[in-house]
């Protein structure tokens, strides 16, 4: 696998995610677009996971705390063979395995998320468990940025540093907006990098839509020996679909058929 293929995989993930949310008339397309490149890089370039053995004890662990990006996660899982592409049609439908919030009903998903601020504490436990087992497997957790307003994250941030969990990587999808407004207007996260450093983490900043840069940054973890790593991925909510980009109304907006076709066209451009 080479990083030159990643943009093509990310395009396919975006296409599948847009199709999934449009068909279901449900989900959060702008969040999917925000996280698409991160999820693609993780699953196509970084995580040691195998769809044939989703419960392999030595697999890397990925926790998608950014549960709003469920369609993007399910899409990337389908491109990696964890579920048939056809099953994406069942997103949110009666009896489906594909809950609108990320659900561990699906093999390969470590944790059901949706209540924000739960993924990082869980990942800290998983990373402690890996260390206790003497395993070199890695634990990666993706959070949104608005989600970092939940205090439970900071309980876990302190504890991960106390325990020196350098087998843990937190990727923050830093698109700077939440449902109602910018994160900085509502409950400011900045200076975020300094906060993580002050809490004892090693921090890097990356363009969250540059798959080669994401790949390089992830490969560099741990960013400092004996410290948990935080990768602040600077993103654009709605990235790749012009009318969604940074438009708050697309948090859970629905596309018309015309908009959907326009969006697919822009992906190919």
């Amino acid at each position: 696998m080479t990083t030159t293929d990643l943009p093509q995989h990310a395009r396919e993930v975006r296409r599948l995610a847009l199709t999934t949310v449009h068909r279901a008339s449900a989900g959060h397309a702008a969040a999917d677009m925000s996280a698409a490149d991160i999820l693609t890089t993780l699953y196509w370039d970084f995580l040691e996971v195998d769809p044939e053995r989703p419960a392999d004890p030595e697999r890397d662990r990925f926790v998608c705390s950014k549960s709003h990006a469920s369609a993007a996660l399910y899409s990337v899982l389908s491109t990696r063979g964890f579920l048939p592409e056809q099953e994406l049609d069942s997103f949110g439908q009666p009896g489906s395995r594909l809950c609108l919030a990320v659900s561990c009903r699906l093999p390969g998903v470590e944790m059901s998320t949706g209540a924000l601020g739960h993924g990082l504490p869980f990942a800290v436990g998983a990373a402690l468990g890996a260390r206790l087992a003497g395993s070199s497997r890695r634990t990666v957790v993706l959070t949104g940025d608005g989600e970092l307003q939940e205090g439970s994250n900071w309980e876990a941030v302190m504890f991960a540093a106390t325990r020196g969990l350098d087998n843990l990587i937190l990727v923050v999808d830093r698109n700077r907006v939440q449902k109602g407004a910018s994160t900085e207007e509502i409950n400011a996260l900045e200076p975020l990098e300094e906060k993580f450093r002050a809490f004892g983490w090693a921090v890097r900043d990356v363009d969250g839509h540059d798959t080669a840069a994401l790949s390089e940054s992830l490969a560099a973890a741990p960013f400092a020996p004996g410290r948990p790593s935080c990768l602040l991925a600077e993103t654009v909510k709605g990235k790749g679909v012009s009318f969604m980009e940074n438009d708050l109304s697309w948090h859970s907006g629905r596309m018309s058929e015309e908009q959907f076709q326009q969006a697919l066209g822009e992906l190919e451009a």
């Binding site: 944790m111 601020g117 504490p121 998983a126 439970s152």
Partner: protein, 314 residues
């Protein structure tokens, strides 16, 4: 059924039994929010320091970390004061443990009114109601030291999300033998009687047993049932009690709404409706005072229970 009436410490017995299981089963770990001594985790920590995770004063992270440890095949026992564990981390208990079907044993120490004069912030008199509302979460409340030890063994042997309400600081008479087994999801009749059934859990069980002994002197033969598992409740045992004795009394160191009384009432109205008397903490916060005084204040001693039951039976 009485094997000894010597009062004993339930929390210490629970933790000693867990340590024994921990020697045999290295999957067992403890996650705790400081206060290892209060919740009897120090011996485990001395023996197995690498298997104790003290997250500090951070209950949400505590339960999340425990759920994450199950992802690595560990069997976490979360030791915490019941008031902070159940209220502060309720969403983690619901989502990360019960919804996820994670094999975590949530151990609520210093339950009920045991914190005494520390007051309403520390009393845990709503925990049974909160916990039993959560699907896929077994809710247990052992009654004595031997029952608590047996509950720890049962939890270690059984897979699945559970909350166990542990009696701390209040000494209770022992009514079970050392080799006693805690049978999950089953009520246990600890005294036969035909005129009324007294149903308790946790501290309530031995208090009601004491009340039954007073009642027998007054010519009233009361059956006493220990409901060691509050959720799922043993509805058959409740129905039998209703059918065979015609009246049911529940007493608990918990608010009268939503706890064991509510659970028993739900079973009774769906099987064999009979008159019930629900005793416990009324819809109020406790005044300031030591736990024994609070038990007296709320009528949860054997003598006061016997008086109220006699009056109700008429």
């Amino acid at each position: 059924m009485t094997s000894s009436t010597k009062p004993s410490e339930c929390a210490a017995a629970f933790s000693a039994a867990l340590l024994e299981r921990g020697v045999e089963d290295e999957r067992i770990v403890i996650v705790i929010n400081d206060s290892a001594e209060t919740h009897f985790a120090t011996e485990f920590a001395t023996r197995f320091p690498e298997r104790v995770f003290d997250v500090g004063i951070a209950e949400q992270n505590m339960v999340g970390v425990a759920a994450g440890l199950t992802n690595a095949g560990r069997v976490p026992f979360v030791h915490s004061a019941s008031c902070f564990l159940t209220a502060r981390a309720m969403e983690q208990i619901k989502a990360d443990v019960a919804y996820a079907n994670a094999n975590v044993a949530l151990c609520g120490f210093v339950s009920g009114l045991a914190y005494g004069a520390l007051g309403g912030t520390h009393h845990s008199t709503e925990d049974l109601a909160w916990m039993r509302a959560i699907p896929n979460l077994r809710v247990m409340a052992p009654a004595t030291a031997n029952d608590s030890a047996a509950a720890a063994r049962a939890l270690a042997a059984h897979e699945g999300p559970a909350f166990v309400r542990v009696i701390s600081k209040t000494l209770v008479p022992e009514i079970f033998p050392r080799e006693h087994e805690f049978v999950l999801d089953r009520a246990l009749t600890v005294r036969e009687g035909s005129e009324v059934t007294l149903i308790g859990t946790g501290l309530g069980t031995t208090r009601l047993l004491g009340a039954a002994e007073i009642l027998t002197a007054a010519g009233i033969e009361a059956r006493v049932v220990h409901m060691g598992t509050v959720s799922p409740i043993d509805a058959e045992a409740v129905a039998s009690a209703a059918a065979e004795t015609g009246r049911i009394v529940v007493a608990e160191d918990h608010v009268v709404s939503g706890g064991l009384g509510g659970a028993v009432a739900e079973a009774v109205v769906q099987s064999q409706p009979v008159p019930m008397l629900l005793l416990g903490v009324p819809d109020s916060f406790a005044p300031i005072g030591p736990a024994e005084w609070l038990h007296e204040h709320f009528g949860l001693t054997a003598e006061r229970l016997a008086e109220r039951i006699t009056e109700w039976l008429g």
